[in-house]
Amino acid sequence: MGEKILMKGNEAIGESAIRAGCRFFFGYPITPQSELIAYMAKKLLKMEDAAFVQSESEIAAINMVYGAASTGARVMTSSSGPGISLKQEGISYLSVAELPCVVVNIMRSGPGLGNIQPAQGDYFQATKGGGHGDYRLIVLAPSSIQELVDLTSEAFDLADKYRNPVMILADGLLGQMMEAVEFKEKPKVELPDKKGWTLTGCEGREPHCIIPFDLDPVAFEKWTNNLGEKYIKIKEKEVRYEAINMEDAELIIVAYGTVARIAKTVINNAKKEGINIGLIRPITLFPFPEEIIASTAEKAKNFLVVEMSQGQMVEDVRLAVEGKTEVHFYGRTGGMIPSQEEILREVKRYL
């Protein structure tokens, strides 16, 4: 412990998952996440009481996750863009059945087959449901390999704590990049006992049923409203963000993941030119850090949202700002990454 290891983002997720007790992985190869599935194969196929299956499809993979999660096992799948779209029906089922699991999306550029370069175009899909029906995932957005490690571990705890699927939403750059990481010993977290609902065979108890439907609208409304109450609790308790250089900032950048990293360099470069800008970096995309944005907007700051998309998170920023001040947007798409110079140029436009 305490030792730093040089690791690729995708592999760091895998190692962190295994250390968090994930013993089951079901997945299908897709760039730019393939190192993760390869890492899980290498490790889990040699472990006792563990399983790795390269599934016939993304759909099968998420349904294998559904099965394993119903037994209470810590389980994960990963994919990118088109593969995550294919998993959406299954994610909707996992959500209504309240089965804990971790789904990793190493975003590539879309729509369609798009390309394999980094992008952030799956924000809506991840944070607004993605599949059919009325549900939410907990969505974590790391912006360094160390954070990939830390949040992967936390994702399993959050999934178990709320009996809810958790998505790690990173992009191809984070998946492919190498950095020194440390696997820290975590204090033991108290998590709810799973015995009351898991499918383990009904020896000595009444059978358990995990069913993703109720044909009675009165009963199903109650069910979905209970989910809604859970999401409110998550919003109250689990918001995470980083806010830097907020004092007297002339403009606040809002960015997550890879873009937030670039924004940090922009802040330093701007300082040298005598320009003081701040950064709000959402770490949880759902729940979204509305309060810090709303309270910052009270002080009439200009906001610049930068994303690798046509503008998706910017909508949540605008909802939080509620028209109190201006929210500008700058985005790159197609797998292009905004440069420091571009972002600084945009900043200067609004000062």
Partner: protein, 248 residues
């Protein structure tokens, strides 16, 4: 007085919701009897996906998972991999096994997943009100083959048992029917063999059960059982296509 006949322990006391003359009820009962006879109720986990099988969770007195349409073999794979000592079975219809979930059943069989699939083939989509299934016979009229199934545009009915039996890791594959007592007795034996294959850790097993759907066929229960005999069995021959000995 000695009790000579009763409800299997592996069935709940919820009355079946199946239509009059439907063979699902017989199939459910046979599975429950086999579970009882093997003494595995407390370690069995059933997976029921979408279709008339959707309510099976109400009837089996063991742990049950409701899966999405076609994906029961994938969900069962997840359960079995996480709990290799549990007995895992799926209860699927023809839309599930032979249409939307073809990939899942083929690959579960090909991997030799140590699970048991019970496949109800009634040549029609029952739950949605009588549309064409991949197993609908040539000329058979359904809501979506209103002029009869035409092989030129709709293909031939898929013989899943035969198709799956080409896979090396599919250990026990059979087709049975429930249209008369002799066939019911054979069906139960076959279902038992399928579960035993799993209990002995020998790999994937599937029992295709030819079943009547009087409601959607527009026949009386008696006529429907006759239809199984006269129309279905000639096209879908009964028997064992793979047995464990052959695999070893």
């Amino acid at each position: 007085m000695k009790k000579v006949f009763g409800r299997p322990e592996a069935l709940t006391d919820v009355p079946f919701t199946y239509c009059p003359g439907c063979h699902h009820g017989i199939a459910n009962r046979l599975i429950a009897e086999v579970i009882d006879e093997l003494g595995i109720r407390e370690k069995t986990i059933g997976v029921c996906p979408v279709g008339c099988s959707v309510y099976a969770y109400l009837f089996f007195k063991c742990d049950m998972l409701g899966a999405s349409h076609g994906r029961a073999p994938a969900a069962a794979t997840g359960i079995k991999r996480a709990r290799p000592n549990s007995v895992v079975f799926t209860y699927q219809g023809d839309g599930d096994v032979a249409a939307i979930g073809t990939a899942e059943i083929v690959h579960a069989a090909n991997r030799g997943e140590n699970i048991t699939a019970i496949f109800i083939n009634n040549a029609i989509y029952g739950m949605t009100g009588g549309q064409m299934a991949p197993t609908t016979l040539i000329g058979q009229v359904t809501q979506t083959s209103p002029y009869g199934r035409d092989e030129k545009t709709m293909g031939y009915p898929i013989k899943m048992a035969e198709m799956l039996s080409t896979l090396k890791r599919a250990t026990y594959i059979s087709r049975v029917a429930l249209n008369k007592t002799a066939n019911i007795v054979k069906a139960k034996k076959s279902i038992k063999k399928a579960f035993q294959t799993q209990l002995e850790g020998k790999g994937f097993s599937l029992v295709e059960i030819l079943s009547a759907c009087p409601t959607n066929w527009g026949l009386s229960p008696v006529e429907a059982s006759k239809w199984v005999e006269e129309k279905m069995i000639p096209y879908y021959p009964l028997g064992e296509f793979r047995v464990p000995e052959e695999v070893e």
